[in-house]
C-alpha cells in the first residue's frame, strides 16, 4: 500500500521545521532527521513509482482541501510524477549525504533549507495549480540562494546574489502572467486553464511560459546559472542540475499544456538553440563544473526539444523525454558528486580518478549516459526521437540535434581522455558518505539502462549474451590478465562453435574474423602481466558489438551493435601510451559516422515502415535491414549516401581517414591488430550490407557507386603514398591499412561478381597479414623500445621468426606469387575487365607498386641493414606474440594453396546478387571468363625452381665464409658506426620530390579548421558571460524579446 | 700599396714593406699586433679573403715565419703579413674566429711544423698523416731520407745518377764529362 503523496510535502516541510526547533548543538540529530526525512520521502515516491510501473494505474488527483479545483489546490500523482519524485528525493538524499560534512558544519538551518528545497521541487512536480507553482518556484529560488552559500568558493556569494536578482525578474513576469491568466479564465488550475485554451490570454500565457522557460536556464539567459554550477558545492550543484532542472522541465511541460500545440514550436526553438549553443560553449571550457553546467543547459535544451515535439512523439513522449531527462539527471548528479573527489578544477585534474577504477567506471558511465550511448536510456530515447523526427520530415531539427550531440560527445570524451591519460598530482580519498552517492548514480544509470531496454519493446541490450559476457569482465577485474585472457579466447571460440551454422557464407567469413580472428590476436595478449584493468571489458565490448552486428537483422540491432563496437574500440585505443588525441579523433569521427547512419536509418524507416497511428502500442520504427532494398526513388539515394559515408568513416576512406593513423599506431601491441585487422572489417561489412540491399543509386545524375569507386581508388593511392613517407613502423602500417581499405572499397564499388569476391579476399587477407605485421612490428617495437624504423636495423638474426612473419606478410600483401596476395590481384584484374568505368583503375595500378615501396622499407629498415650497438643482445619477441604470427604464416600459405576452401562458397553465395562472372572451380585450376589461375601448380613450380637453384648454389658456394656486419666494401674505407651506415631515414626522398604534392595534409588542415571554427564559436559565446549580474538580466530581457518576436512571427 | 703601408704604419709597429709585384707585398708584424692588423685589414681596408696561411722554418734563426696572405678582391691586390715566432715554443694565437678557413690551415701547420694554435677547432686531430710518429716532417731538422731508409723497405740495386752526367753518357757515349 502506498502512502499519500501529500506526505512527501508534509514530511519535507515538517522535518525542516523540526530541525529548526532543535538545539543549535544537536547538529548530528538534525542531520539524522534530514536524512531520515529524505529517505522517507524517497521511499514514498518509490512506492508510487512501483505502483504505477507495476499496475499501469491511471494518474491520481489529490485534492488538498477536499474540494476539486478551482476551489482548492490539486496535486496529481502519475507515473511520470512518481519517477521524477523518486529522482528528486533520492538526489536530495544523496546530495545531503554527499554534503554531510558541510551541512554538519553549517548547522541545522542549512539542513532545513535543503529540506525545503527538495520539498519545493517535489511540490513543483506535483502541483496542478499555477499560483502554487509560483510559490514553489519562489521557495526554490530562496532555498537555492541559501544553499549556494554552502560552498567554500567565494564567488558563490555573488553567484547567489545574481541568481536572486534574475529570479526576481522571472518571478515578476510569472506573477503578472498568472494574474492576467486568472483574470481571463477565472481559475488557477492548470487543467482548468488548459480546457479554456490560451487564445484568450496569449500575452499572459506568454509571460507565464517564458518565466518557466527561464527557470530552465536556456541560452543565452543562463549566465547566473553557470556561475552557480561553477561555484556551488558539488553536492548542491548535482541537486541543482539533476533535480531542479528536471522539476522545472516538468513544470514547463505542465504549463505548456495550457498553451496547446501552437506553443510547441517555442519550446522546440528555445530547446534546440540551447542544446547547440550550450554544447558549443562547453567545447572550449577547461573548468570541469562549468563544463558540466553548460552541458546541463544543453541537455535541458534537448529535453525541451522533446517537449516541443510532443505532438509527433505520441505515446513515445514519456519514453523519450523521460529517457533523456533521467539519464541526464542521473549522469549529471553522478558527475557533480564525482567532481567532489577531484581537488583541482581543471579538466586534467580528473586524472586523479585513475587511482580508483570504480570511480573511473562511474565517470565513464556518466559520460556514456550524457552522450546517449548504448545501453543507456538516452540511446533508446535518441533512437526514437530521431526516427519520429525523420518520419515527420523535420530533418533540419534532426540535423541540429545530431550535430549538438556530436559536439557534446567531443568534449565529454576529450575530458575522459584527459582523465585516463594525463597526470595529476592530487590524491583521492574515498569517505563512504561521498562514495555511496556516486555508486548510487552508477547503479541507477545501469538500472535505467535496463529499464529503458525493457520499455523499448525491442531487444534489451543488457540482456544480449555477448554484451553481458563483455560486461561480466567488469566484475572480473580483480583477476590476473592470463585468466581473463583465457576466458576471452574461450568465449570467442565458443561463440563461434555455437553459432557458425546460422550464417550464410558471407557473414560466416566475417564471423570467423570477428571471433576466431579475435581469439588468435588474444593469444598475443598473454604477454601482458598484472591485471590489465579496463582492457578486457573494452575489448570484449568491441567484439560483442561486432558479433551483434552480424546477428542484427533490423536497423535497431545493427545500429546498437555499431555503437557498441565503436565505444569498445575507443576504450581500447585510448589505452595506448600517446593515444589520447588520436582516440578522441577516433571517437568523434566514429560517432559522427554513426550519427549519419542513424539519420540514414531514420529517414529510411520513414519510408519503409508506416508508423502505427497513435494509440496502438507498437515499437517505434525499426525495419529489416534487407528492406532497404524496397526504398523508393527520392529517399533511397539520400539514405544510401548517409549510410555509405557512415560506413566509410569506419573504413577510413580518404577525407575521413585522419583518425586512423594515430589511433592504430599509438595503440598497444595487441590492440593494433584488433582495431586494424578486425575492426576495420566492420565498416566493410556495413558496406557489403548496404550494397547488397540497395545496389546502385544515383543522385542528381551522379552514380553514387561510381563515386565510391573513385573514392576507393584515391584512398588506395593516397593511403599507400602516405605510408611510404612514414618513419614510424606502426604508422606506416596504419596508413597502409587506409590504402588496403581503399582497395576493398574499390572492389565493392565495382559492383560486379569478381569485384565483391576481391573485396572479400581483401577482407581475409588484410586481416591475416595486417594482424601479423602489426604483431611482428609490435614485438620488435617492444624489444627495441622504439617505433622509428631508422633506429632499428639488422634484427634478422636476432628475431628470425618476426622476420619470417614480416617477409611472408609483405610477399602476400604485395601480391607476388606464390602467396595468397596474388589471388587478390588476379581476381582484381578479372574484375576490372567487367567494369564500366576505367579511369579509377589507373590509380589502383599505381598504388600497387607504391605498396611495394613501403613494404620493402618496412622489412629492410627493421630487419636488414646494420644492427645497432644497443640491440646486439635483443631476444626474439615473446612467444605469445610470435605464436599468433606463426599461425598467420600457416594460414597465409594455406589460403595461398587452397583459396577455394573459403572463396568457393562465397563465390556461390555472391551469385545470388550478381550472377554474372562467377568463377569456375573445377580441379585445381580456377577459371574466370578471361583467364585462369592454378595456385597449387604455381606453388609447386616455384618451389621446384627455387630449390633447384638453391641446391646448385649450395653446391658451388659450399665454402662461403660467414662475415659480420662491417665486412662490407666501403670505398676502401670502413664503416664508422652502425647508425651512420644504416640507410633508412627519409628512405624515399626522390619520391617526395616528385610526388610530394599529393601528400600535403589538406584533409588534416580541413578538419583542423572545422575544429578551430567550433572552438572559436564557443569562445565568442563565452564572452557573453562576463560575470556581471546586470548584463545577465539584460540577457534575460533579450531572450524574452526574441522569443516573443519570433512567436509573433510564427 | 705604399699608401696602405703608410696608413698601417701609423697604427701598428710594422716592419719594412717588401713589394714583390705591384699588387703583391709583404710586411712583418709583431705577433702581438697580428690580430689587430688583420681585423683592420679585413674590416677597414677590404682585405676580406684569407688566401693562405703557411710557415717557413728558419732553423738557423730559431724562428718560424708565419705568412698570412690576404686578398683585396676590389683592388685585386694581395698583402702578406709575416709573423716571426720562437721556434722552441712554436705557439701562435688562432685566428679561426676571423676566417673559419684558418682552422684548416692551422691544423696543417700543427701537423707538419708542430706549431700550436690553442683554441683552434679540431686542432688536436690528425690532418693528413695517419699515425705519424716522428718529429713534424716539414721541420728542417727532420731528415726525410734517413727516415725513409729506416721506415720503408728498399729494393736492393737501386742506383742514383746525376741527371746531367747520366744523360750526357746516354747521348754522347765515350765523351768526357763536360768542362773537364
Amino acid at each position: 500500500m502506498v502512502i499519500n503523496a501529500l506526505h512527501i510535502l508534509a514530511t519535507g516541510l515538517g522535518a525542516a521545521f523540526l530541525t529548526g526547533l532543535l538545539d543549535e548543538k544537536r547538529n548530528g540529530l538534525a542531520f539524522m532527521i534530514t536524512l531520515g526525512a529524505l529517505a522517507f520521502m524517497s521511499a514514498v515516491s518509490a512506492g508510487w513509482l512501483v505502483l504505477f510501473a507495476a499496475t499501469g494505474a491511471h494518474p491520481m488527483d489529490i485534492q488538498t482541501a477536499g474540494t476539486p479545483p478551482p476551489f482548492a489546490i490539486a496535486l496529481r500523482m502519475g507515473l511520470a510524477e512518481a519517477a521524477l519524485l523518486t529522482l528528486i528525493n533520492l538526489a536530495g538524499l544523496f546530495a545531503a549525504m554527499h554534503m554531510g560534512e558541510t551541512l554538519l558544519a553549517r548547522g541545522r538551518r542549512a539542513m532545513a533549507v535543503l529540506l525545503v528545497m527538495v520539498m519545493a521541487l517535489c511540490g513543483l512536480v506535483l502541483t496542478r495549480d499555477l499560483f502554487n507553482l509560483f510559490v514553489f518556484f519562489e521557495l526554490i529560488v530562496i532555498a537555492t540562494g541559501g544553499l549556494v552559500l554552502l560552498s567554500d568558493d567565494e564567488r558563490a556569494v555573488s553567484a547567489g546574489f545574481k541568481y536572486l536578482i534574475v529570479s526576481q525578474f522571472i518571478s515578476v513576469l510569472l506573477l503578472v502572467g498568472i494574474v492576467f491568466g486568472y483574470h481571463a479564465t477565472g481559475t488557477l488550475n492548470i487543467d482548468g486553464m488548459a480546457e479554456q485554451g490560451s487564445g484568450a490570454f496569449a500575452l499572459a500565457f506568454f509571460l507565464i511560459l517564458i518565466a518557466v522557460a527561464a527557470e530552465l536556464k536556456p541560452f543565452p539567459a543562463n549566465g547566473w546559472a553557470l556561475d552557480i554550477y561553477e561555484s556551488a558545492h558539488p553536492g548542491f550543484a548535482a541537486l541543482f542540475s539533476a533535480a531542479a532542472a528536471s522539476a522545472a522541465l516538468f513544470a514547463f511541460d505542465k504549463v505548456l499544456a495550457i498553451g496547446g500545440a501552437e506553443w510547441l514550436p517555442v519550446a522546440t526553438g528555445i530547446g534546440i538553440v540551447s542544446f547547440v549553443a550550450g554544447n558549443l560553449l562547453a567545447l572550449p571550457q577547461t573548468n570541469d563544473r562549468r563544463l558540466l553546467g553548460y552541458s546541463s543547459i544543453a541537455q535541458s535544451g534537448l529535453i525541451l526539444v522533446a517537449i516541443g515535439q510532443q505532438d509527433i512523439l505520441g505515446e513515445h513522449y514519456l519514453f523519450i523525454a523521460g529517457g533523456l531527462l533521467l539519464s541526464h539527471a542521473v549522469a549529471k548528479a553522478g558527475l557533480y558528486w564525482l567532481s567532489g573527489f577531484v581537488a583541482g578544477r581543471e579538466l586534467t585534474d580528473w586524472a586523479a580518478l585513475r587511482q580508483r577504477p570504480l570511480l573511473v567506471l562511474a565517470f565513464v558511465t556518466g559520460i556514456a549516459m550524457l552522450s546517449g550511448l548504448p545501453p543507456f536510456p538516452g540511446f533508446y530515447a535518441k533512437w526514437e526521437l530521431v526516427h519520429l523526427l525523420a518520419n515527420e520530415g523535420r530533418l533540419a531539427l534532426l540535423g541540429w540535434i545530431l550535430f549538438g550531440a556530436l559536439v557534446e560527445a567531443g568534449y565529454l570524451f576529450r575530458w575522459f581522455g584527459y582523465a585516463i591519460k594525463r597526470e595529476s598530482a592530487h590524491t583521492i580519498d574515498c569517505p563512504p558518505d561521498r562514495v555511496i552517492p556516486v555508486i548510487a548514480a552508477l547503479l541507477a544509470g545501469w538500472a535505467l539502462g535496463f529499464a529503458w531496454g525493457e520499455l523499448s519493446g525491442r531487444s534489451n541490450l543488457l540482456l544480449v549474451l555477448p554484451l553481458l559476457f563483455a560486461l561480466a569482465f567488469l566484475l572480473l577485474e580483480w583477476a590476473p590478465a592470463w585468466l581473463k585472457n583465457t576466458l576471452a579466447i574461450g568465449g570467442l571460440s565458443l561463440y563461434f562453435l555455437q553459432t557458425w551454422q546460422d550464417y550464410d557464407p558471407l557473414r560466416l567469413i566475417f564471423l570467423v574474423i570477428f571471433t576466431l580472428g579475435g581469439a588468435i590476436i588474444f593469444l598475443a595478449s598473454f604477454h601482458a602481466h598484472g591485471r590489465r584493468i579496463g582492457f578486457y571489458p573494452s575489448a570484449m565490448t568491441m567484439f560483442a558489438g561486432m558479433v551483434l552486428l552480424l546477428q542484427a537483422t533490423d536497423s535497431f540491432g545493427f545500429f546498437a551493435a555499431w555503437e557498441l563496437l565503436t565505444i569498445g574500440s575507443y576504450f581500447l585505443i585510448l589505452r595506448g601510451k600517446e593515444s589520447e588525441p588520436h582516440a578522441l579523433s577516433y571517437i568523434v569521427f566514429s560517432l559522427g559516422g554513426a550519427f549519419l547512419i542513424l539519420a540514414g536509418f531514420a529517414i529510411a524507416a520513414a519510408s519503409v515502415v508506416t508508423l502505427a497511428p497513435s494509440g496502438a502500442v507498437s515499437p517505434a520504427p525499426t525495419f529489416e535491414i534487407a528492406s532497404l532494398a524496397t526504398l523508393a526513388q527520392p529517399v533511397a539515394p539520400w539514405v544510401f549516401l548517409l549510410l555509405a559515408i557512415g560506413f566509410m568513416t569506419k573504413t577510413a576512406a580518404i577525407g575521413l581517414h585522419i583518425w586512423l593513423p594515430g589511433a592504430h599506431a599509438e595503440a598497444e601491441t595487441d590492440v593494433s591488430p584488433m582495431v586494424s585487422g578486425v575492426l576495420l572489417k566492420a565498416g566493410l561489412y556495413g558496406l557489403f550490407v548496404l550494397l547488397m540491399s540497395m545496389g546502385r543509386q544515383s543522385l542528381y545524375g551522379v552514380d553514387l557507386v561510381n563515386l565510391m569507386l573513385w573514392i576507393g581508388a584515391i584512398t588506395a593511392l593516397l593511403g599507400n603514398l602516405m605510408a611510404i613517407f612514414q618513419e614510424d613502423a606502426k604508422r606506416l602500417l596504419a596508413y597502409s591499412s587506409i590504402g588496403q581499405m581503399g582497395y576493398a572499397l574499390f572492389g565493392l564499388a565495382l559492383m560486379n561478381h569478381l569485384g565483391w569476391l576481391m573485396a572479400l579476399m581483401f577482407v581475409i587477407n588484410h586481416y591475416v597479414y595486417k594482424s601479423m605485421l602489426f604483431l611482428s612490428v609490435g614485438g620488435v617495437a617492444k624489444r627495441t623500445g622504439t617505433r622509428a624504423m631508422y633506429q632499428m636495423g639488422g634484427l634478422i638474426t636476432l628475431m628470425p621468426l618476426s622476420f619470417i612473419a614480416t617477409l611472408v606478410g609483405i610477399i602476400a600483401m604485395s601480391g607476388v606469387p606464390p602467396l595468397s596476395g596474388f589471388g587478390g590481384r588476379w581476381i582484381f584484374y578479372n574484375a576490372i575487365m567487367d567494369a564500366d568505368t576505367r579511369l579509377p583503375m589507373v590509380l589502383i595500378f599505381l598504388s600497387g607498386p607504391i605498396a611495394f615501396l613501403y613494404l620493402f622499407r618496412l622489412i629492410h629498415t627493421i630487419f636488414l641493414g646494420q644492427l645497432k650497438d644497443e640491440h646486439r643482445r635483443l631476444k626474439e619477441a615473446p612467444l605469445s606474440i610470435v605464436l599468433p604470427q606463426m599461425i598467420y604464416v600457416a594460414i597465409l600459405i594455406g589460403v595461398a594453396i587452397f583459396p577455394g576452401l573459403i572463396l568457393r562458397r562465397v563465390d556461390a553465395y555472391i551469385s545470388q546478387f550478381l550472377p554474372d562472372g562467377a568463377l569456375n572451380w573445377e580441379g585445381l585450376t580456377i577459371t574466370s571468363q578471361y583467364g585462369w589461375w592454378n595456385p597449387v601448380a604455381i606453388m609447386i613450380v616455384v618451389a621446384c625452381i627455387f630449390l633447384l637453384i638453391f641446391g646448385w648454389l649450395l653446391f658451388v658456394n659450399r665454402k662461403a665464409q660467414k662475415v659480420k656486419q662491417f665486412n662490407i666494401v666501403f670505398s676502401a674505407e670502413r664503416p664508422y658506426r652502425p647508425e651512420t651506415t644504416h640507410f633508412a631515414w627519409n628512405f624515399f626522398a626522390p619520391y617526395k620530390k616528385a610526388m610530394g604534392f599529393l601528400v600535403q595534409p589538406f584533409v588534416t588542415r580541413f578538419w583542423g579548421a572545422i575544429t578551430d571554427l567550433l572552438h572559436t564559436a564557443g569562445d565568442l559565446g563565452r564572452r557573453l558571460y562576463n560575470g556581471n549580474g546586470q548584463i545577465y538580466a539584460f540577457h534575460f530581457l533579450i531572450f524574452v524579446v526574441v522569443v516573443f518576436v519570433s512567436q509573433l512571427g510564427m | 700599396m705604399r699608401e696602405l703601408y703608410a696608413r698601417l704604419k701609423a697604427l701598428y709597429p710594422l716592419g719594412e714593406l717588401t713589394e714583390q709585384r705591384k699588387n703583391l707585398a709583404f710586411v712583418t708584424v709583431p705577433a702581438a699586433h697580428l690580430r689587430d692588423t688583420l681585423l683592420h685589414l679585413r674590416d677597414k681596408e677590404g682585405f676580406t679573403h684569407l688566401v693562405l696561411l703557411t710557415a717557413v722554418d728558419w732553423l738557423e734563426e730559431g724562428q718560424f715565419q708565419l705568412t698570412y696572405l690576404l686578398n683585396n678582391r676590389a683592388l685585386a691586390c694581395d698583402l702578406g703579413l709575416r709573423v716571426l715566432i720562437q721556434r722552441d715554443t712554436a705557439t701562435m694565437e688562432s685566428i679561426h674566429d676571423l676566417w673559419p678557413t684558418a682552422a684548416t690551415y692551422q691544423r696543417e701547420l700543427r701537423e707538419m711544423f708542430g706549431i700550436d694554435f690553442p683554441g683552434s677547432p679540431r686542432i688536436e686531430e690528425e690532418f693528413i698523416l695517419e699515425g705519424w710518429n716522428s718529429i713534424p716532417p716539414y721541420r728542417r731538422d727532420f731528415d726525410t731520407l734517413k727516415y725513409a731508409q729506416e721506415a720503408y723497405a728498399e729494393r736492393p740495386g737501386r742506383v742514383t745518377h746525376d741527371p746531367e752526367t747520366h744523360m750526357r753518357l746516354q747521348m754522347y757515349p765515350g765523351q768526357h764529362p763536360a768542362g773537364k
Partner: protein, 215 residues
Amino acid sequence: MTTKPELMKRMVKGPDGLEFEVDPLRDYYCEAPPTVMPGAYIQIVEDFFNWARSKSLWILGFGTGCGAIEMRPLMTPRFDAYRFGVAWRPTPRQANLFIISGYLSTKTLKRAIRAYEQMQNPKYVIGLGSCTINGGMYWDSYNTIKKLDEYLPVDLYIAGCMPRPEALLAGFEEMKKIIRTGKAEGANQYAENFAWYKANQKRVIHDWDMPDYNW
C-alpha cells in the same frame, strides 16, 4: 698504437636496461684469417678455370696514384681494352685484378690493403710504374712505400714513369699468360705468408685501425 674511438670497447645499455660490452673489432668484423684455397681437384678443370680467368680480367676501379691516368685511355676507342676481356668493376668484391697505379703513400696503402683483402681468391696484383718497384722519384719521401711486394703479393710489374697504355696492354697479355700457366697464386701466397705481410704492413702503418684481415 692508438685505437680510434669508434673501435674502442664500449659499455652499451640495451632497451631492456641490460648493460653489456661491445667490442667493435670482435663484434662488427669477422676475425677469421685467410686460408690457402686449393684449386679444383681435377687439374683439367682448374686449367679450364684458369683459361676463363685469363679471359675475364675484372680490374678494380681504384686509382692509387698518378698512374691511374694511364688506365683511362684503355677504355677509349684508341686502345679498347674491353676486346681483350678486360673490364673495370667498381667494387672489390667483383674485381680480381688490382692495379696499383703508381706511388702508394702509407695512407693509401692502408686502403689498398683493405680493397685487396676484400677481393676474392684468386686475385692478382699488377704494380704499375717505377714507384711501386723501388720508390721511383719518391725514393726519399717520408710517407711513401718503395717496394710494393713487401706488402702485397705482386704478380707483375710494369715499369716506366709512367708506362704508356700500350705497355699496360702488353702487361695484361703477360698477366694472362701467368694466369693460364697457373702461377698467379698471389692470394694463396698472401694467406701462406700472412704473418709476414701483416708485420710488414704494420711496420709502416702506425695507426692500424682495422681488423687484421678485411673480409
